[in-house]
Symmetry: D2
């Protein structure tokens, strides 16, 4: 199998998510990092690229140079796609430029700062017909796919209640001055108008949507900034109403002392319930009505096809965060190959630019609801009507 | 030690909570059941009393006869207190009558149907100077007392967030026609204006208040009745704001498939966090900021005095629901003895009529908020100013 | 229902297990403590009896006085049974005397010190035709009964492997000089020839026998005394071979730092496996071959009849140690009533004198194996052939 | 950083562990797969290599060709090391040949079939002065390194008891005819004289040795073949005595229904105890004497340096099996670079040929003990005295 060629924007020294993307891309041997513009500071970009062993001529000082440089190469040598792992504010200009130039894109979340930007990006992707994957990485876990399968195939009956939570504790105290990650994630000019709800609440929204297919109709939000001097919310609680009558709670927090990365989902239906926790991702609890709770575990033959396909190791040999991340890369890579005619056409099983756009809309609504005296804020998302023929339709 | 003499109102055939109260009272050998009016249906009352071996002359056909009968006995033979375990609507008339007659009372929750009744009962208790215990039984768990100790002594720092949940699944389907418990708990004339939020949400409210001492300032509630034809809420989610700035979420549900009796509390402070789950009540998780999470376990010498005193068995020999319930009986019994001069005066360590009244107020506010379009409803509770000298002051 | 009248031998000041037996007896209101000889020291016996409120004339200074005193009462006033909760060395003389006098007996474990004593007691019970219950209390847990049901009804297929463990840590250090419980349990004249293996290993043996019905054929033991100056084993590991080909491991320890009362059982068969842990007794894990592990929880309708009958509270309202203990009292009481013609004859569902005798034999074999250079020691137990018509036949 | 060049022997179609090694090698971007002889069947070897995209000239039909072909290349183009992932019986000839030719080696476990082979290999490594890593991969987990640190630094006091278990259930039934993994692992000519005890028991032995540093003095083993027609043991239980007086139990099984990959370790000392389970590898339980149990979690600053260095992601972002495997590759790669003068000399933190040899000796002793009527078999291992100057000294 021919490896796909990846370029990376962002992810240099001090980056957390850049190294995750690189490991996810490398894990299965189907993707090769061949170019990069790893920082917005040129010297740092070059130093980071050298540390990673990027080839001299493709270790770029800026993303603009990279775009230009790659386009100057013969088509078969160019990168196949760009992976965008910068702070949020750069997602939009970089993604738009590469999409317009016809490159496939894998972009970290939240997609962009505003719904207007999101819509513009959707239009660009539709026009270019390229692949666009947003790394809502938690949906890559095999047991999330199993959960999705079980809900979608009716094993839970009619859904009534969804409790989702993403609680962290790393911002309990003010770290903004000493920690690069804390600094940009609490800076509105870099992170956008939302703090915790944008950074991690958007994962919670995406997880619910992916697993349940439920569409939010109304929300009632209470965002808080607990740490003095912080500029964005570090905690938030939401009441949620879904179309069709299901209800729920959504919690996001970065000041919940002792929590590490507690993304948890519970879905209650008339015939059964599911529970999944990201910190112990290899199992999924299933409570069929009136029967003992079952612990479904990754790697077993009784799982659905999608869960088995998303798994690399036998049961009991745990897989974790990087494998889930890598699953998005694998799926996006398969779609890229299909676009090039290298493998059969297939429906994308990864979050697309539409998921990213819906996530941006969700964040905007939450921020608005939190500021409002009105109890219920309409938060329905009207997916943009496709104009083009994007591989990643809604 | 002289045993205290208990009379019981309610708790006959088909009762769930009556047998719990009897076992709780019997467990430690300090209380003796000597009289009862076990049902509102006279024959059923008498039949139930015979099955329990109540002495003939004190197996009453109604609570009014019991009150009269006991008062006719010489004072030293009379019951010391009455335990009220009827459906909710009878709490008020029975409790008021026995209090006025000078008897101590142990009464199940929720206390009464309305704040007006609650206030009247508070006044009656204050005037009579009697002991009045409301069986918010979950506060009797040793590890809840440990949690209370740790929060109150500052080990969590300043509190920021409280997530409390009481989720059950036994009313997922319509049981009203076949199950006595389901019938009365969903009947407004017997249960009051609230379903799940009254039946179990009130435990959640009491647990938070007991452990944290936080006072609710505002709430935003969304109650739902999921099961067709049901007359009261069977699910509810609340955003909560506490005085002093803490925030939180409160969840109560009886339609959460697969949940049994999941009362869970998490308290996050600036210096640490606690987590306790009623279904595994012998331990308490403590996450001190920046250090490994500790699992505190009942029966160990490192626990606080109140937790140790509330424990009967060595560590690893699990205690559970009945022991916690019995702890309220023990504490109330100690207060009764103190009132009679049989043991030293001591502060009550059990939920009093004031807790009961606050609980009623809470339920009323939640129902009102749920019906309101206003986002935040003031839910502060002004404790009645004591007029008398009740042992169980606020 | 007429309450059964209980007398108690042992269980005075400083006793651990006496109070457990009293609570177990009191819990369900079917048994009344009416007499006692609570210590081998007369003054202490009397002082303890007064503290418990025993009637003056039946608060005996010694067990011999109690036996004599009760026999002098009219038959309908006498105790129905005696509960023996002394240190081990007194079990034999007290039990034998009361059995010979025709009283039913509930006796703590291990039954006696030697197989000869055990056989003599078996013969005495057979001759008297009385009820004799040995409080291997862990078999009283509902989920142990469920496990027994599942194994016995073939849900695990053919059994292959049994791992049982009873690990405690309370004797990690030398407590003999400061703690009454530690003192007698490590004194061969009071505890017998075995330390941990007798005190708790015997529970492990009984649990395996009860749940699986497997009979030990050979053992290979390694007992150790880790704490300097201790006179009996405080740790032991055994390889076990069962009749029919199953194999296993048995672990008992009182020096396993951090362990509280970790009695755990795993049974592996060709069609499924079970796991149960005493410290979280309300659930039982069941792994059917090739399917998800199920968590069976106490109080649910899907459990077997014996498990449901042994349960007092709805699912999620945890029961624990005292309820399990009380189940033995309830079962023994039912057998006592049946013997008196007060209720229908029924097979006993409690550990009998035969279980007690087998346990003594097991302990003897383990001690011998540990001292032996021979790898495998025959440890088959030939149940005494009944000579009489004991209610509690083998 | 210059990537190291890896060749692989074995690991073609149908291999389980080959893909694990490749992912482990790829994860961190420091190693590149450039050559392979992926099967003992030439066509299969070539087909597998093509599927992986091996360069044509270095996709060898046999390991002998690969050795010859690589030696024919200019030194700077040759592979730096060979990764041996064949069934066990090929480890010895392949490893010996590559070591003698001066290549560094990473070899799966168990090292070889016999102690004689092991000694010969040790001598060869000593003579060649090359790096030799045996992939006892479970020791690569960060929390195993933390456990090792805590034991070695005295936090547990004097060690008394070690319970280690490696239980699987995948061979509950006869899979030999349908599953390649089952076939060779139960074939003495390919797997060696031991089944489960060799395949997974050897991991248990290595884990204990790594974490505790204890040396086995005597063992008493009972190996069983439960499945009819199987040619090697599929279950085993051992009593173990360690030098210095600690004792323990070791369990290995592949017929424990419902178990997936349950490698678990408990270490009890006079001052504390540890517990770790491979299936939930991101935490480690620490029970300091007399204090609450602590849950240490990967990725936290309170961990030791080795545990932090072995970690790639923040706390709560779980790592798992492949990362642990990759840690051995990283450590071995660092040693290889040091040997080439490319980075500072450093002590190896990976299992060496000496660990491999000790493991082979252990398996031999267990098989012998199981066949013996003698209770205790001397199982001390005398590490070969180094004759040369191998980087990986004992």
């Amino acid at each position: 199998m021919q490896r796909l060629k990846m370029g990376m924007v962002g992810g240099g020294e001090g980056s957390f998510i850049g190294a995750v993307h690189r490991r996810a891309a490398a894990l299965d041997g189907e993707i090769e990092l061949v170019a990069g513009a790893l920082s917005s500071t040129p010297e740092k970009a070059l130093r980071s690229g050298r540390a990673l062993g990027l080839p001299e001529g493709r270790n770029y000082a800026s993303w603009e140079e990279m775009l230009e440089g790659e386009l100057a190469l013969p088509e078969e040598e160019r990168i196949d796609f760009v992976s965008i792992v910068t702070p949020n504010h750069m997602h939009f200009p970089v993604a738009r430029a590469f999409v317009r130039a016809g490159f496939d894109v894998i972009c970290d979340k939240p997609l962009v700062h505003t719904s207007e930007q999101a819509l513009e990006l959707v239009r660009a992707v539709e026009k270019a017909g390229t692949i666009f994957c947003v790394t809502y990485n938690y949906t890559g876990y095999p047991m999330v796919r199993q959960a999705r399968h079980m809900v979608r195939s009716g094993m839970l009956g009619e859904l009534r209640k969804v409790i989702v939570e993403y609680s962290q504790g790393w911002l309990v105290r003010r770290l903004e001055d000493e920690d690069k990650q804390a600094r940009w994630r609490t800076d509105p000019s870099l992170a956008g108008a939302a703090g915790a709800i944008g950074d991690i609440g958007s994962h919670a929204e995406n997880l619910v949507a992916t697993v349940t297919g439920l569409r939010i109709s109304e929300i009632c939000a209470d965002l808080t900034t607990f740490v003095e001097g912080r500029r964005l919310d570090d905690d938030g609680n939401l009441l949620v109403r879904y179309e069709g009558g299901a209800k729920g709670v959504m919690i996001s927090s970065q000041i919940s002392t002792g929590e590490e990365n507690n993304l948890s989902l519970r879905v209650y239906g008339t015939e059964g319930a599911l529970q999944w926790r990201q910190e112990e991702p290899n199992h999924l609890l299933f409570a069929p009505f009136g029967k003992p709770v079952q612990t479904l575990r990754r790697g077993n033959p009784y799982l659905c096809e999608e869960a088995r396909a998303a798994s690399r190791l036998p049961a009991g040999h745990p897989e974790a965060f990087i494998e889930a991340f890598a699953n998005l890369y694998l799926e996006a890579a398969a779609a890229m190959r299909a676009r090039r005619g290298l493998s059969p056409e297939r429906p994308p099983d990864f979050p697309t630019v539409y998921d990213g756009a819906r996530g941006v809309h969700f964040i905007e609504r939450v921020v608005e609801s939190s500021r409002s005296e009105k109890k219920w804020l309409d938060a329905r998302w009207e997916a943009p009507q496709p104009e083009g023929a994007g591989a990643s339709g809604p």
